[in-house]
């Protein structure tokens, strides 16, 4: 397959696999206790209510068992006492790349972030371990009243909006890892779009883990006021260390009446990262929340983006692509809670298993009684490339009442031998044919990504397919 890989490919798993030595000014040390939480609060200058919130969350985290009665036992391999929970060179992100420390800047330049910003973004935040090194929003967008800052700055400078929604979509008690994030969160974005403002170009965040034995716990809160529209994209990489790294984010979206939020993730963590993320949106009347979620990297990802459809005619959508190569488990899915009449949700999940990789879909669709006109449609398809690839599907569909309709279809298949033969007969190698086939399998979903991302995705898929045909 080597002849099929474009020689100048510069976006693949290995692109993130580099590491410059960096010295940190702030370091909470190894292990987690209420002292660690206090340290983070002190460094960040958190108000008392956040300090209380964090300490309470820590207790909840400690009291909750690992969810291994339904989830993989690989979770037991996370050693919380060996992790570093806060590392930074300073708390205030720079507004220009010139001000960013040289070693950090080099990292993001190599990842192509400044270039992408110039080309097609409305604003960028670049997080390096616990804090954003760089955060900027284009003047034209800021003038419309759009706020795009880090979570700490959001909390300090816009407490009236922040406090109203923070922790409301995903309560601390939601799960063990949302509790952990609530205790030690740092970084992530705070975004507010004023009523009627439609942000033309995407806002982007880039998350970089640089240090070994580190846990990154960013916290993102996006509020689109009535009639507002925004697209947010996030990317992430880390160097591949010998030891496991933890990434556990919480992302809350609030779409008020008639607002639209599109949240795009291309997750390409190195294969030593445990990626345990809680993402949920709240959609009010006539609002729309769409999660486009692509998981290619990490050792174990557990992530089920959800939408609470709280207002009449609210719409929720999850588009998900997962690729699991040997040594990887992509445990992804979607949750849709219908809480108002005439709400609709749509889930399309496609996964590809390569080598001994394992992909899992978990879904939840919930329609309580006395609602009417609710609709959900779920499709999940898995493609298995090798004989030892594995896929699981675990949806749960709860419907009450006779005025709603729900449909779920799932299928598992392998690449059609006829199709491969047909392409080979036209002169392609088996590997090329396979790659083309896989790209075809996810093509309808990839097309929903912004152009720049879909090109990247196709290349990533080609790279992952390399060597899969023996």
């Amino acid at each position: 397959m080597s002849q099929t890989a474009t020689p100048d490919i510069d976006i693949d798993r290995s692109v993130g696999d580099f590491h410059y030595d960096t010295s940190y000014e702030f370091d909470a040390g190894v292990g987690l206790s209420s002292k660690t939480v206090d340290y983070i609060c002190d460094v960040k200058g958190d108000p008392q209510w956040i300090r209380d919130f964090r300490q309470k969350a820590l207790k909840i985290f400690e009291s909750k068992p690992m969810p291994t009665h339904w989830a993989t036992e690989d979770l037991e391999n996370i050693i919380f006492k060996n992790i570093r929970y806060y590392l930074s060179k300073g708390q205030v992100p720079k507004r220009t790349w010139e001000e960013v420390p040289e070693d950090v800047k080099r990292t993001f330049e190599r990842l192509g972030i400044p270039e992408a910003e110039r080309k097609f973004l409305s604003g960028v935040e670049a997080q390096f371990d616990s804090e954003a090194a760089y955060s900027n929003i284009k003047a034209i967008v800021a003038e419309q009243g759009v706020i795009f800052v880090g979570s700490t700055e959001g909390l300090h400078k816009h407490p009236e909006i922040f406090k109203k929604w923070f922790g409301k979509v995903i309560p601390t008690t939601d799960n063990k890892f949302s509790a952990l994030n609530s205790a030690v969160f740092s970084g992530g974005s705070f975004i507010y779009i004023p009523p009627g403002v439609k942000v033309k170009h995407p806002l982007q965040a880039y998350f970089r883990i640089n240090a070994q034995n580190f846990g990154q716990f960013e916290r993102t809160l996006i509020i689109a006021d009535e009639g507002a529209e925004v697209t947010y994209m996030e990317g992430c990489t880390a160097p591949k260390f010998e030891t496991a790294t933890l990434h556990s984010a919480v992302v809350e979206l609030v779409a008020l009446k008639g607002a639209k939020i599109q949240y795009i993730t291309v997750q390409n963590w190195s294969s030593n990262v445990f990626n345990l993320v809680t993402k949920r949106g709240l959609a009010m009347e006539d609002a729309e929340i769409k999660w486009i979620d692509c998981n290619i990297g990490s050792r174990l990802t557990m992530k089920y983006p959800g939408v609470i459809l709280k207002g009449r005619k609210a719409r929720g959508e999850v588009i998900s692509i997962a690729m699991a190569n040997s040594g990887q488990h992509q445990d992804t899915g979607a949750k849709m809670y219908h809480l108002a009449d005439d709400t609709t949700s749509n889930i399309v999940a496609k996964s590809i298993g390569i080598g001994s990789g394992r992909s899992t879909y978990r879904g939840m669709v919930h329609i309580p009684k006395h609602l009417k006109g609710c609709k959900n449609n779920t499709e999940c398809d898995a493609l298995l490339i090798n004989t030892n690839s594995r896929t699981d599907t675990y949806p749960a569909i709860q419907v009450r009442g006779n005025k709603n309709s729900v449909q779920h279809e799932a299928s598992v298949s392998k690449v059609s031998a006829d199709q491969i033969f047909y392409m080979q007969q036209r002169g392609m190698t088996e590997a090329q044919a396979m790659s083309l086939s896989v790209n075809g399998f996810v093509n309808d979903l990839v097309r929903q990504f912004p152009l720049e991302y879909s090109v990247e995705l196709k290349r990533l898929i080609d790279m992952e397919m390399e060597g899969s045909v023996g």
Partner: protein, 450 residues
């Protein structure tokens, strides 16, 4: 669970007259069997009650687990016997069967033995207690040999410990039975518990159909049943098993089925679920030989506050195997259904073709359906699909029927009965189809809100 925690004590069964004037012997059992039961009782006591976060009981309303003040082996009074035999025997004279057993409160009330011809061929059709004595080697080899439950391990052991009544069927190779076999299990007393067992051993290239009926003497009667069907479909055999569940409205039941399908064999099971307050069905098919196939069918019509808790498993162990599951539920009033299904394809089971479908038709604004169709696929050259739909009576079809003058209630009923039609047709037995449709019709008609 207090009563169930009591150790088993040998019970005396009083002599009960039946149509054949048959009196079951006092059941002591050979010592090997007694050992099995003692061991099972020990395991039952050691096993924990299903934990609150047990995934096998997700969505189950545990408030339904009411097992107090139960009795076992209560004698069946004359009046009740008369009624039971009228329904299970006299009213069915038109329907020819190869053999029939009727049990009331786990006591044999009637038996129709096999014809001399079938007996001469070596077919065995015995009440379970007799088989234990006469065919210990077959019992040892097949009895709950592979019963792997889908959560109710504790109840399986309870069944094993209390087991007394049931059917034992053995068909030597190359024998085909033209007529079906029937077994009736009656609860004839309020708060009575029963443990019906069905052991089917079909050797190579055999053909048979067996039908179990689970009924209560009054529709309002309470009680508790843990039944097990242990089905072994030998190479090239064709086995059809139908369970018709018509328990009284206050009855709680656990119905555990293990279906083992060998090379080129074809098993077809159908569950008709109508009665009970809480009825749990665990049905597991294991395709152990290449070319084997299991069809798993189920029809449920629920009303009032009934809960039907269905857990299924299609395990593809050998390559080139096929399974096809279709569970259909129509829900009225405040009733609930839970469907949790799993297709598991083992690493070596390439060329598996598996399908799993759960269709729910909601007939009221408060009915509650829960569907968890699952897949665990460990081989790549497979075709596995599942689907789940939850829907309601279609307005367009209603208008079409009404425009032909069909009144709305009739149109709704036609639609609902039509919903079950594809499952009924899959059993390929016209008489049985009519009988089952009639039962569904009755239940529909008794549902006042419809």
């Amino acid at each position: 669970m207090e009563v169930l925690e009591q150790p088993i004590t040998p019970t005396t069964t009083p002599a009960t007259p039946s149509l054949d004037s048959f009196v079951p012997p006092h059941f002591q059992g050979p010592s090997a069997w007694t050992q099995i039961q003692k061991q099972a009782w020990k395991q039952y006591q050691e096993l924990p009650f299903p934990a609150r976060n047990d995934e096998h009981f997700r969505f189950t309303n545990r408030a339904q687990f009411q097992f107090e003040n139960l009795s076992h082996l209560t004698p069946v009074n004359k009046e009740a016997q008369k009624q039971i035999l009228l329904i299970s025997v006299e009213n069915r004279l038109k329907k020819p069967v190869a053999g029939r057993f009727v049990f009331g409160n786990d006591q044999l009330l009637y038996r129709q033995n096999l014809s001399a011809e079938l007996s001469a061929k070596g077919v065995l059709w015995k009440p379970f207690s007799e088989a234990v004595e006469q065919h210990p080697e077959l019992i040892e080899k097949y009895f709950m040999a592979k019963v792997t439950t889908l959560g109710s391990e504790k109840f399986a052991r309870l069944h094993q410990a209390y087991l007394k009544a049931g059917s034992f069927l053995y068909i030597p190779k190359n024998v085909e039975l033209e007529l079906p076999l029937e077994a009736f299990h009656w609860i004839a007393e309020d708060k009575e518990m029963v443990f019906p067992h069905t052991l089917i051993i079909a050797e190579a290239n055999t053909k048979v159909e067996i039908i179990d009926f689970f009924q209560s003497i009054h529709s309002e009667i309470g009680g508790f049943s843990t039944s097990v069907c242990d089905l072994h479909a030998g190479p090239g055999s064709q086995v059809r098993y139908v369970a018709t569940q018509l328990w009284g409205r206050e009855t709680r039941s656990f119905q555990l089925q293990s279906i083992i399908v060998d090379k080129d064999a074809h098993s077809k099971t159908l569950n008709l679920n109508m009665g009970g307050a809480y009825s749990r069905l665990e049905s597991k098919s294991q395709m152990i030989g290449s070319g084997s196939k299991s069809d798993m069918l189920s029809l449920t019509i629920s009303n009032d506050k009934q809960e039907f808790d269905q857990r299924t498993f299609q395990e593809h162990i050998a390559p080139n195997t096929n399974s096809d599951l279709l569970f259909k539920n129509a829900l009225a009033d405040d009733s609930r259904t839970i469907f949790s299904g799993m297709i598991e394809v083992d690493v070596d089971a390439q060329k598996t073709d598996a399908y799993q479908s759960n269709r729910n038709l909601l007939l009221s604004d408060t009915a509650d359906s829960n569907s968890m169709p699952g897949l665990e696929i460990n081989a790549n050259d497979v075709r596995c699909t599942h689907g789940s739909t939850t829907s309601q009576i279609d307005d367009v079809e209603m208008f079409y029927m009404r425009s032909r003058g069909v009144p709305l209630p009739v149109a709704r009923k036609l639609f609902t009965l039509g919903f079950f039609q594809d499952v009924l047709e899959k059993i390929n037995d016209k008489d049985l189809e009519v009988e089952l449709l009639d039962l569904i019709d009755q239940k529909y008609s008794q549902t006042k809100s419809l």
